[in-house]
């Protein structure tokens, strides 16, 4: 599934419009615990989280995630945003809480793999 398709289907807000959003999403991953994300997520996953500090970019970059979705209208810290652009990790936000957002991603056909 293409990231742009997901963004359009769910009317998500893109914080990094300068980055190319046509990329393959292999699955979804949700967790706020970095060690968990490091251990269990996969390349191409779209990562859903409440965390906004700069470490999330390192994790997303290392794991090769297709992007990060911040929930509950969270906005990335300034440093986080800078690093995201530098590392080519799209940051997307939603006003929805995690449960709702993941429910809708699941309804689109995404799974945790």
């Amino acid at each position: 599934m293409d990231l742009q398709t997901i963004i359009d289907s769910l009317s998500l807000e893109v914080i990094t419009p300068e980055l190319d959003l046509h990329r393959e999403v292999t699955g979804g991953y949700v967790s706020d615990l970095l060690s968990d994300v490091m251990g269990n997520s996969h390349e191409g996953n779209i990562w859903v989280t409440f965390q906004i500090h700069i470490n999330i970019i390192a994790v997303a970059s290392l794991k090769g995630h297709s992007g990060i979705i911040l929930v509950n209208n969270r906005k990335p810290e300034a440093e986080t945003l800078k690093r995201a652009i530098a590392e080519n990790i799209p940051i997307i936000t939603t006003t929805l809480p995690t449960f709702e957002l993941v429910g809708r991603l699941y309804a689109l056909g995404l799974r945790c793999r």
């Binding site: 949700v30 968990d36 269990n40 929805l96 809480p97 449960f99 709702e100 993941v102 429910g103 945790c112």
Partner: protein, 122 residues
């Protein structure tokens, strides 16, 4: 939705309060960060989380959360289980990932009802 239905949808094991199968929740909240739960969740919810320490039970108590399901087969320690029993908060464990657990419950009609940017007293 009641505990029994949740257990079936998630193929979950009930760790405590096995006789609370008829206990119901109006909505669900998914988070690993306690301040997130305190800030945005509503009363009478099911908490879906990967965090298994005692503070999860404390947070649930403060936020009036009804029951907790741990994902990815994460097991709380004995202290956490004891505290949950003391506070009458049923605990479940599912092998599903947080993503799939939320997806399945959402599919069956459960929602968050949490609102962002609710107007608070000035």
């Amino acid at each position: 939705m009641n505990l029994s239905e949740i257990r079936n949808i998630l193929n979950a094991i009930v760790l405590t309060d096995e006789d609370a199968l008829q206990k119901t929740v109006a909505c669900a909240y998914c988070a690993d960060l306690m301040s997130d739960v305190l800030s945005f969740s509503v009363t009478n919810s099911l908490l879906i989380t990967g965090l298994t320490n005692t503070q999860v039970i404390r947070t649930a108590e403060m936020a009036a959360i009804e029951m907790i399901v741990f994902i990815q087969n994460k097991r709380p320690d004995i202290q956490t289980i004891k505290l949950a029993e003391e506070k009458h908060i049923p605990l479940l464990v599912t092998a599903f990932s947080m993503f799939d657990a939320c997806g399945r419950l959402y599919e069956k009609g459960l929602r968050s009802l949490a609102r962002v940017n609710v107007v608070h007293r000035a």
